[in-house]
Amino acid sequence: MALTRNDVEQIANLARLELTGTQTAMYQQQLSDILNYADMLDQLDLEGVEPTTQAVTMRNVLRADVVETTLTMDEVLANAPQKANNQFVIQAVLDE
């Protein structure tokens, strides 16, 4: 499966990546190669095999509704580029 230049631009946009023209062409090639490689799986005969979305067969891994210790305020905000009033400060998001 080959990706178009538009596909790559769309993916980059959704990932908030800014690509140069050269990079777009490079990723178009690389991503297409990866998908082509995965296309090999189409050669398998999967007649009668249930679709799987997870490799694990575990079921019902649940936790009881119990409160555990929270982070301290310093820990919560340790990676905040900017903070104020015990909150993260971000630049306003334009499309909200």
């Binding site: 769309q10 959704l14 908030r16 979305t53 997870q54 694990v56 575990m58 079921r59 019902n60 891994v61 649940l62 936790r63 009881a64 509704d65 119990v66 409160v67 555990e68 210790t69 929270t70 982070l71 305020m73 919560v76 905000l77 990676n79 900017q82 104020a84 009033n85 015990n86 909150q87 993260f88 400060v89 971000i90 630049q91 306003a92 998001v93 499309d95 909200e96």
Partner: protein, 479 residues
């Protein structure tokens, strides 16, 4: 009939009242009262290496709601990632259920003020997590609080079966009552634990077209839901009648102007790239678990309203009022079970106790009057020990200081006087003391009879048996 009709579907988001969050042990706190970022664990911040584990209680609550809304239950449940970049969830996706929601194909029957019943289908009920809260500042920055990020959230989506603002309001109110009866959500719209978003379009009446719709967000009361729906219906109708067309968009509500406004979000920009969350193994619900949760469901308001009318003979308005809040309904049921006449209990509750509770700001569970003690009071009235006016006085005393009706009546000497002797004496005195009124009465001003009754009752501090007073007074006036 108007030329156009509305087509409305409602999306309702309800936070579930668990102690801890959906996928980690961070506590669920009141997002209005709590200081920001005090209920945060590494998972809430999307820290690398953290793994979500689903909260069993939240799943049980979600199942309760799906069952109460008459849904088909999907035994196989899977969580999916809804990918988007927005600072309200730092990990870059919201965990939700796309293809395998816990409940599908449900319905509720909503009774309108007129008594008409509307059948509203529920398309799906699915589990997800709430997002953090952004506060937009004047300088163009925003503050982010992650207390709410990861709180268990239920999304309840109706089919577009609603055709007026009135029905949208009634459906939302009905849903809120059910959530409160199930004790999974407080129903507090102002705190944002329950959020209602209508999708609205219009079409020529009688057709089954589905036209371009708008979605209205951030409505923090059912009154605003009603007004915003009315406004959208009128706005879209005017637009179409003047040859324009409706633009698919999200709109907000301007409370000052009482109008909706475009929030200018590009709808086609959303591409959530849902995929199954590899971190969360699927959940399979056992039939025995589903059966047990179903068996544990409380009687819901619609059933109570029906029962109060058909079995107890109450009027529709009284039945609705008693069933509106679960605790009131349970209190009422307990009083009836204790032997109280349903109409007498309903009357005391609606006409007397509610006013006292409003004044004192108490909830029904906190008042000194119990279902049993109210029945004790009604028995005193029934036996003729006290009359209805004195009963109100006794009730006020029971409300203020507790105690049984019998002991209050004894302590305060409130028992009704039915013996002829004392009443006859008082009547003689009253007639003797008011010769002018008596003369006027005898001259034909018969309205003065009420004056004499009032004087006698006042003299006897309200304790005289009204029937005996009436009878003896008539005899005295004739002589």
């Amino acid at each position: 009939m108007s030329k156009y009709e509305a087509v409305i579907g409602l999306e309702v988001h309800a936070e579930l009242m668990t102690d801890s969050k959906m996928f980690c042990g961070a506590p669920v706190v009141d997002s209005v009262e709590a200081e920001p970022n005090v209920a945060v664990r590494p998972l809430c911040l999307g820290m690398p290496g953290t793994l979500p584990v689903a909260n069993k209680q939240a799943i049980e609550y979600a199942l309760k709601v799906a069952l109460a809304l008459n849904c088909d239950i999907n035994k196989f449940n899977r969580f999916d990632r809804k990918n988007y970049f927005y600072p309200d969830l730092p990990k870059g996706y919201q965990i939700s259920q796309l293809d395998h929601p816990i409940g599908v194909n449900g319905y509720v029957d909503v009774t309108l003020e007129s008594g008409e019943v509307k059948h509203i289908r529920v398309r799906r009920v699915h589990m997800e997590e709430d997002t953090g809260k952004l506060t937009h500042m004047a300088d163009g920055t925003s503050l982010v609080d992650y207390n709410r990020a990861g709180v268990p959230l239920l999304e309840i989506v109706s089919e577009p079966d609603i055709h007026s603002a009135e029905v949208a309001h009634a459906y939302a109110t009905h849903l809120r009552q059910i959530l409160r009866y199930l004790e999974v959500n407080s129903g507090d719209l102002e705190k944002g634990v329950l959020r209602v978003e209508p999708n609205i379009s219009i079409r020529p009446t009688g057709t089954d077209e589905l036209n371009t719709r708008t979605e209205v967000k951030n409505l923090n009361s059912f009154r605003i839901l009603y007004m915003a729906s009315e406004y959208e219906i009128k706005r879209q109708t005017a637009l179409i009648e003047s040859g324009g067309s409706v633009v698919q968009e999200t709109r907000g509500w301007n409370e000052e102007r009482k109008s909706t406004f475009s929030q200018r979000i590009k709808e086609d920009a959303h591409d959530y790239r849902y995929f199954p969350d590899p971190d969360l193994p699927a959940i399979e619900l056992d039939q025995s678990f589903i059966d047990a949760v179903r068996a544990g469901l409380p009687e819901l308001p619609a059933s109570k309203i029906e029962r109060y009318q058909t079995e107890m003979g109450l009027g529709a308005a009284d039945a609705k009022q008693l069933a509106a809040e679960k605790r009131t309904a349970i209190w009422f049921d307990a009083a009836v079970t204790a032997g109280g006449d349903p109409k007498a209990v309903a009357n005391m509750l609606i006409n007397n106790l509610s006013a006292m509770m409003n004044e004192s700001g108490q909830a029904i569970d906190d008042i000194a009057v119990t279902p049993d003690s109210l029945v004790g009071l009604l028995v005193q009235v029934e036996k003729g020990v006290i009359n209805k006016n004195i009963a109100k006085e006794v009730l006020a005393e029971m409300f203020a200081n507790g105690g049984s009706a019998a002991s209050i009546i004894a302590a305060k000497g409130l028992a009704q006087v039915s013996d002829d002797g004392p009443i006859r004496d008082v009547i003689s005195t009253i007639l003797a003391n008011n010769p002018n009124e008596l003369a006027a009465y005898k001259a034909g001003k018969t309205k003065l009879r009420g004056f004499f009754v009032g004087q006698v009752m006042r003299e006897m501090k309200g304790k005289a048996n009204p029937a005996v007073v009436n009878q003896l007074l008539d005899e005295a006036l004739k002589s």
